[in-house]
């Protein structure tokens, strides 16, 4: 029937079958469904495309073993039980539960297959029910279907592992030995990611490494600057090397959203949250901790967002890289050991140690309603914040906890608190707690600081109150600058300044008062020691300000939140614009951090004392460079000029040659002087004033 019949054939067939064609209503004929009579439908392509989407492999199938073996009569009941257990975790596909039956005995074989809609659900089901006790003799053994194939491939006999010859790695800290003592930075613009030297002497950056599509979302330096981490859909990777950037290690973590290094660079934390297949469920969160050098997963945490979110704030905090979610490490000694890390949960802070990756004392610290915590950058001390409860009946509380003893060092109750943020001073000497309190009417808030002196006996607390939370009023506090002043004193109050962000130089002596975004990018470079403004400048529409790790230079950038004027400006610490680099679609600017100096304080002091001696060498170099530069510049200008003169003389010659023809085109009009404008110097003498004076003649 597949062939198309001609009309004659139809008539002939009709006559043979004695059918009167005129009495037939062809429109009334209905073909049986699902039968196309060999006529290919136009929609066939569409169907094929749809079927492609379902070919996902077997990643969404799990195998549940150790089920009870039941006869035919109990089959339905067992299936019902299994379905009940597993449909709690995710949506089982239609016909997605298959329990094979022995054809002879009609009994089940003690295992079944379950197919979910997504691999994530399957993973979660495996995670949650492996080891589930149905009864005493039936403990579920759940595996991914894909894994079975993997386990089948394990060879029967043990073969000794190959020992690879040791290849010495590159010196990952080579960049620190740069002769010109320059700093590196990474920028992302368009599809390119570039690492550059900041060569302030030459007033331009020097390219170190450039790569298109290096990352799929963002890049990040490790805290000591050894590695550059790139984030991809499949996971993260770290890069480094003596002269260029080679990939050192990869860390698999599908759909990773955020990454962070431990302060000592020993561990890398990756975080992702996955959309649940069932919209009523919360997001699923996966956190992995990798050893940076070996790439091994040291510990992973999986669970629903609820378990990782804190008390009252709910799931919103998941999306903010806030303390609640981020795993905090801290370093000890010279920053080489990352001994502990902590995680916040519901009414609980879990502190783990990195030797074994287990909880300290196998117990978490129970703290009712804790919402925030923060590690000291140098000591094993945790600062915790518990908000006000019960409508003010129970005060808010900040406490310091010593690890691993879990002893509370100091506690402070706070009243009428709306919000609270904790800032550690970089040496771990002070903890500043910024407290926003309600005024009596509870309509507005005002800000105060509580300063904990960690290093002193009993940790005294000092309270500073700001009169006004007006952003035109800026208070400069000596202690926040990172210098170790003995007593906190208000240095000065700058009034009438328009700024919405402050950036301290890493060396602590300088601060930039910046009016970013809405304030048009006004910048004020302020010297805190002298209490004077060094320079005022503007980088129109600037969105970011970044000090370099040495505090010598500062960068202001306009990132692609604005459409126009993307790019960055490099300034010296005292507000001199060194150079500007415009880049379209500018996303990210990051200075490469430097590890702390190995010099002892005495040595540093000595250098500071004899600065003249040391600086002489650099000054001479500076001079050489600037001489060389001006020489080069002159040479360049001369070359350009010469080249241009060659063009001009060539044009003149051709113009001359064509003169006759041009005249012909102009009907013999002789004048050809329309082009011949020449720059002439004309001296004009003007009589401004004439006066006559009688001069006495002696």
């Amino acid at each position: 029937m597949a062939d198309v019949m001609s009309m004659e054939d139809i008539h002939a067939t009709a006559a043979r079958l004695n059918v009167d064609l005129s009495s037939l209503d062809l429109g009334s004929i209905r073909l049986p469904p699902a039968e196309d009579f060999g006529i290919v439908s136009d929609d066939e392509d569409l169907k094929e495309e749809e079927s492609l989407e379902f070919e996902e492999g077997f990643a969404n199938i799990i195998v549940v073993d150790n089920l009870p073996v039941v006869p035919k009569e109990k089959f339905e009941k067992l299936e019902g039980v299994i379905r009940k257990i597993y449909s709690q975790i995710g949506v089982i596909k239609e016909d997605g539960l298959w329990m094979p039956v022995d054809t002879e005995t009609q009994k089940t074989l003690g295992y079944c297959f379950i197919e979910y809609n997504t691999p994530q659900e399957a993973e979660l089901a495996k995670e949650k029910t492996n080891g589930y006790k149905l009864d005493r003799s039936h403990i579920f053994a759940v595996n991914m279907f894909d894994d079975i194939e993997k386990f089948m491939k394990v060879p029967e006999e043990w073969a000794p592992p190959e020992t690879k010859p040791y290849t010495p790695g590159e010196n990952l800290q080579k960049w620190l030995t740069d002769e010109k003592a320059r700093d590196q930075f990474v920028i992302r613009a368009g599809t390119d990611t570039e690492v550059l030297w900041n060569d302030a002497r030459q007033s331009k950056p020097e390219l170190v490494y450039k790569r298109s599509y290096w990352t799929e979302s963002f890049v990040q330096w490790s805290p000591l600057g050894t590695y550059l981490a790139t984030v991809h859909r499949q996971g993260a990777a770290v890069w480094g090397g003596a002269t260029t950037f080679n990939r050192l290690m990869r860390y698999a973590h599908p759909q990773v959203k955020l990454i962070d290094f431990s302060p000592g660079e020993r561990f890398l934390v990756t975080y992702s949250s996955h959309e649940p297949s069932n919209p009523r469920d919360t997001h699923r969160v996966v956190i992995n901790i990798f050893d940076v050098r070996t790439g091994k997963v040291m510990r992973d945490f999986k669970g629903s967002a609820d378990e990782f979110a804190t008390g009252g704030t709910g799931g919103v905090r998941i999306f903010v890289l806030s303390n609640g979610l981020k795993l905090f490490y801290f370093q000890m000694g010279g920053g080489k050991d990352d001994k502990y890390f902590a995680r916040i949960g519901k009414n609980v802070i879990s502190v783990y140690e990195t030797e074994t990756f287990t909880l300290i004392d196998k117990k978490s610290i129970k703290v009712e309603n804790v919402v925030d915590f923060s590690w000291s950058p140098t000591d094993p001390i945790l600062a915790l914040f518990v908000p006000e409860l019960g409508g003010g009946n129970q005060p808010a509380r900040v406490s310091l906890v010593q690890i691993p003893s879990k002893e509370e060092l100091r506690q402070k109750n706070l009243f009428s608190v709306s919000d609270c943020k904790m800032y550690w001073q970089s040496n771990g000497d002070y903890l500043a707690v910024k407290v926003d309190r309600y005024t009596k009417t509870k309509k507005s808030t005002y800000t105060g600081f509580e300063l904990f002196r960690i290093k002193e006996r009993d940790i005294p607390i000092e309270v500073l109150e700001l009169e006004n939370k007006n952003d035109r009023l800026l208070h400069l506090l000596g202690a926040k600058s990172g210098t170790s002043t003995g007593r906190v004193s208000k240095l000065t109050t700058l009034k009438g300044k328009q700024a919405n962000a402050l950036y301290w130089s890493p060396s602590g002596r300088f601060i930039i008062l910046a009016g970013l975004k809405g304030f048009n990018g006004q910048l004020e470079f302020y010297n805190v020691d002298e209490l004077e403004t060094m320079a005022q400048a503007e980088h129109f529409m600037a969105t970011d300000v970044e000090w370099d790790p040495t505090g010598r230079y500062v960068v202001t950038a306009v990132t692609s939140v604005h459409e126009m004027e993307n790019g960055f400006n490099v300034w010296s610490f005292n507000g001199k614009l060194l150079y500007r680099i415009p880049r379209d679609h500018f996303f990210q600017f990051l200075w490469r951090p430097r590890p702390p100096s190995f010099l002892s304080p005495e040595k540093e002091e000595e250098i500071a004392k004899n600065l003249k001696k040391y600086s002489k060498k650099y000054e001479a170099e500076d001079q050489d460079v600037s001489l060389l530069l001006s020489e080069q510049d002159r040479e360049k200008r001369r070359m350009l000029k010469e080249e241009w003169d060659r063009w001009v003389s060539e044009w003149k010659r051709l113009h001359e040659e064509e003169k006759l023809e041009r005249q012909k085109l102009r009907d013999g009009e002789a004048s050809d002087d329309e082009e011949e404008y020449e720059a002439k110097e004309v001296e004009i003498e003007e009589l401004l004033d004439v006066s006559e004076e009688v001069i006495s003649f002696d």
Partner: protein, 323 residues
Amino acid sequence: MRPILMKGHERPLTFLKYNRDGDLLFSCAKDHNPTVWFADNGERLGTYRGHNGAVWSCDISRDSTRLITGSADQTAKLWDVKTGTPLYTFNFDSPARSVDFAVGDRLAVITTDPFMGLPSAIHIKRIAKDPEDQTGESVLILKGPQGRINRAVWGPLNRTIVSAGEDSVIRIWDSETGKLLKESDKEDGHKKPITSLSKSTDGSHFLTGSLDKSAKLWDIRTLKLIKTYVTERPVNAVAMSPLLDHVVLGGGQDASAVTTTDHRAGKFEAKFYDKILTEEIGGVKGHFGPINALAFNPDGKSVVFAILLKLSRSTRLVFVKQN
């Protein structure tokens, strides 16, 4: 610096041109009426009425007797400069964009936009000495470039035609045979549509401005890239000083976004560059809209900027050059 504000046009300006002597300034706008002004004091001399659509460009004959204008009403008109009477109308099937007289004023090149399925084209018309003898016949029609051709001008001795437009390629055509002689290559050429093209006074080189935020200087005979001037905003208009080694670039963001941004964000300043060193040497501030046309007085001492304003006035700045 003594700026003169010239008010007269009711809609945005599109093109500016001085006559050879530099005493008259011709301006085209979207308001259908090309206007002529006294160059030294900015007084309006008269308008040329007859077009029924936006006027995109114009050119003046060497002896300042004939004016040719190209308009969106699908015509190009030849005018008597003195009396303002239309002498002849060239009819096309699509809007006329760019017009340019050849050396000797016996030929004119007119480009037409892609319209209703018609591709863009470059037409070469003979201009009769006596307007009575004028015909609308095309000597040659060139087709090929994709998208709008924003500017087409004559090469040396009328032997070639240089065109540039939305496809960001500069082309040199043989004006006799219509053969494509040269094309700017991808590496050197502009990356985004070319908005403007301006020849040097002696016709030996030309400057192109593009939305890729750069302007480029080319040799007209070999189409060799000589210089690139990099700016921070799309370039709408370019001009070269006939007197000194300076170039002026004007531009700004899209007119549609003007009202939503701070005037400084739009970067509406006109920038002066050193022609040889390609370094920025100065700027003229105080514009509140993108500059969409520019012209240097042939005496090299003043520049006109046409600035898109809400009320679309033109500003003229008599500008005595610094350094």
